[in-house]
């Protein structure tokens, strides 16, 4: 009775991902037998504007620029320094001096990530806007791969795959690297297949410029990337995902920093999915679509309802069930969760292009239940404070003068 509920996440991911993987294995085998190896199609080459926005990223900006520059033929490159107190603008300007086509925009006062990303929009004439975090490093051919889905005019935005750049620093980064391979790499392949992908990563994402102009760019964050993706979905566009377009980003190296990051992510889930864009679930509005409804329903059910229900259920267990049964249930739960994670590791390996790293990450499977338990605790805390106190509007992710002026959803 207890185990199926606790295994809700693990089972559903394993079952659905396993099905997808089996289907792909059969399809790929058939294709290989009938057609042979399929080459990548890089025939579509729209003009691209790459934006790199950062704050105090003087150490990493040159590496980020070097990983992007000259990797695509029709590209303009914008660097926005959002009021850094370090030498980020100077570093970017030094790069721009030697590399034509790089424009550096610098502002004296920090205005928040959203407005910094909106700043180059009036100057961009390209068809596609690609956004990259200033501490990210693009893999070879990432921009080429990212723009190919835009051949389909129904595609409004495309997400790249984000992986941890520093997985071997400590246990915290190792577990995050594992999580990124499960939830971002495999999870988003599945969501995009089902047409319910609800987020385009801020670390690597591409947007159709004409549509971006209609929305006026990004709204005030935190969670502005998810907010914009929902706007695209509401406008009827599809969201694509290209797992081969990968980008390495630095993940937090301490559990304290990780908790802070995840709290922001969860605040955004409440602010945008449960308040600002709650109309997605309303079947009487003009822009209602079933795939959007299922996407939001999945989020509401598993990210909010199940979290609270888990608390209630654990409380019920402690009161109603004897300790021996609880221990047995927890142990069974642990074993099954590890088994599910093992299956997921095999699924990741099937799709992976970095199989050696994924094999190493699979060694952490016995620790995964504990890591996800920690994540659930953070989620519970974050959504509670956001629901009851609107905590996100007191966060210094956005400067005070901006968060005082913006709408508190």
């Amino acid at each position: 009775m207890l185990i199926p509920f606790l295994l809700l996440d693990g089972l559903r991911y394993t079952a659905v991902n396993g099905t997808m993987c089996l289907f792909d294995m059969l399809r790929d085998s058939w294709r290989w037998l009938t057609v042979g190896p399929v080459e990548e199609d890089w025939s579509y080459c729209p003009s691209v504007a790459v934006m790199i926005v950062g704050l105090n990223e003087g150490d990493t900006i040159k590496h980020a620029l070097a990983s992007v520059y000259d990797t695509y033929p029709r590209m303009e490159l914008f660097v926005v320094d959002d009021g850094s107190s370090d030498d980020m603008a100077a570093q970017a300007n030094a790069f721009a001096q030697d590399h034509p086509g790089v424009t550096v925009l610098s502002r004296k006062l920090r205005g928040g990530k959203s407005s910094a990303m909106n700043m180059p929009l009036p100057m961009i004439t390209s068809e596609i806007v690609v956004v990259i975090d200033s501490d990210s490093h693009l893999a070879e051919g990432a921009i080429w791969r990212l723009v190919q889905p835009f051949k389909d005019p129904a595609i409004g935005a495309v997400s790249g795959c984000v992986s941890a750049r520093n997985p071997y620093v400590n246990l915290c980064t190792f577990m995050q690297a594992l999580e990124y391979r499960r939830s971002i790499f495999i999870g988003r392949i599945l969501c995009s297949r089902l047409g319910i992908l609800g987020i385009v990563s801020g670390a690597l994402g591409a947007f159709r410029k004409s549509t971006l102009d209609k929305f006026g760019g990004w709204d005030v964050g935190p969670g502005e990337d998810g907010d914009l993706t929902l706007k695209f979905r509401k406008a009827g566009y599809k969201i694509g995902f290209v797992p081969e377009a990968s980008c390495l980003t630095n993940v937090p190296t301490t559990f304290q920093a990780l908790t802070k990051q995840r709290r922001r992510w969860e605040w955004a889930a409440i602010t945008f999915e449960c308040r600002k864009h709650v109309d997605v679930g309303n079947p009487f509005v003009k822009h209602f679509r079933w795939n959007n409804f299922f996407m939001m329903f999945e989020r509401w059910l598993f990210s909010v309802f199940c979290v609270y229900f888990s608390v209630v259920y654990v409380a019920y267990m402690l009161i109603a069930i004897d300790s021996r049964t609880i221990l047995f249930s927890l142990f069974s739960f642990y074993l099954l969760y590890v088994a599910c994670d093992f299956v997921q590791s095999i699924i990741v390996l099937y799709y992976s292009s970095v199989k050696r790293q994924d094999c190493l990450l699979a060694l952490a499977a016995p620790l995964v239940p504990f890591y996800y338990a920690y994540q659930k605790c953070v989620t519970l805390y974050a959504i509670t404070e956001e629901i009851f106190t609107r905590r996100s509007f007191r966060d210094n992710f956005v400067p005070e003068r901006v968060r005082n002026a913006t709408w508190h959803w």
């Binding site: 502002r107 205005g111 005030v220 901006v402 002026a405 913006t406």
Partner: protein, 355 residues
């Protein structure tokens, strides 16, 4: 005052051992007071010089008599640099001393000929010149010499002048009468030689020939010193004027556009897009009557070149040469060191004081 004793252990590189031995020999009539001579005539001066020579009369103990007698040639006639004795005078009080020195002849192209250097001893000094004693080649009158006089701890200080007369004395040594003056002396007079700005060509230059200065630097008579580093034209090395301008066509006709950041919706756009007849209005969220500070802030937008039409640029600093009118990005400008020369000059007054 006694003449400066010549230390027994002092060696001069390149000096003739015979000359050094003579100078190190004990002085028989040790003078008790400073010898002051009004050099009213050449004869007087010559007499005093021969008096000085008497101090070196006794041969060194380790020197064989026959070698000394063969080393001293017969006195040669004095060759006068000037026709009249009045022209040949070094005015002022002369102070006797004994200091090692090296003399370098100056060529007609005002360069120092290091290969023809001669070692000598400064026998006396006055405010207007020196008398040197050497056993080396006899310089002809009228020749300019640069003289390095050894001072404290082997350091040489330099002066320059013209040879008034040179003659061989009774001991067979050459006496050189040097009067301060000439082109080289001009160089060695000031403590520092500064470059000057040629206002017609807007270029920095030196008031003296660089080859001459370089030859003096090689001697150690002066040392080059970087005074400043300036940006100059990469073509002609003249000074430019600087301005911000377009990085593409190097025009300074660049206008800056103003942008507005609306806080509430994070919209950032050009000022013109916000301007409506009813006041400032955000085109994204339709908020009207925006108030600066609480609703929005101005941002510096991209630069637009009015000549080539290129926009979205960060301006760069552009130089315009004041001489050849060449325009160039400051990053390509040449950085030129402004070099001065610190002169290692001989302080005659200090020399007199030490006599």
């Amino acid at each position: 005052m006694h003449p400066t004793p010549f230390p027994a252990d002092l060696t001069i590189i390149g000096a003739d051992p015979q000359l050094l031995r003579e100078l190190r020999a004990p002085e028989t009539p040790a003078p008790t007071t400073r010898r002051r001579h009004q050099s009213s005539s050449v004869e007087h001066s010559t007499a005093e010089c021969s008096k000085f020579e008497t101090t070196t009369d006794s041969p060194p103990t380790d020197q064989p008599a026959h070698s000394q007698s063969t080393a001293i040639p017969s006195p040669a006639p004095i060759r006068m640099a000037f026709e009249t004795p009045e022209q040949n005078l070094r005015h002022g009080v002369r102070y006797e001393l004994t200091l090692p020195a090296i003399c370098y002849p100056v060529s007609v192209s005002n360069e120092v000929d290091r290969s023809a250097s001669i070692t000598a001893i400064v026998a006396n000094v006055s405010s207007s010149g020196l008398m040197l004693v050497t056993d080396a080649a006899q310089p002809y009158p009228g020749l300019d010499l640069v003289v390095g006089v050894e001072r404290n701890q082997g350091q040489f200080e330099f002066c320059a002048g013209t040879v008034l007369a040179s003659k061989r004395n009774s001991r067979g040594l050459i006496e050189i009468h040097l009067q301060f003056g000439g082109y080289m002396n001009e160089l060695l007079l000031s403590e520092m030689i500064f470059p000057v700005l040629d206002r017609t060509r807007m270029q920095f230059g030196l008031p003296f020939s660089e080859r001459t200065l370089a030859s003096l630097c090689k001697l150690g008579a002066m040392a080059a010193e970087t005074l400043d580093v300036v940006v100059v034209c990469p073509h002609c090395q003249a000074l430019p004027t600087l301005r911000d301008g377009c990085s593409l066509c190097l025009s300074s006709n660049v206008t800056t556009s103003k942008m507005i950041h609306h806080f509430a919706c994070a919209n950032v756009d050009f000022l013109e897009k916000f301007e409506t007849p009813a006041g400032l209005c955000c085109q994204k969220c339709r908020t009207r009557n925006l108030i600066i500070g609480s609703d929005y802030e101005y941002l510096e937008g991209p630069q637009t070149c009015q000549d080539c039409g290129k926009s979205h640029l960060e301006t760069i600093q552009i130089g315009h040469c004041l001489n050849c009118e060449h325009r160039f990005p400051l990053a390509t400008a040449k950085r030129m060191e402004i070099v001065g020369y610190r002169v290692n000059r001989l302080d005659t007054l200090a020399l007199i004081d030490s006599a």
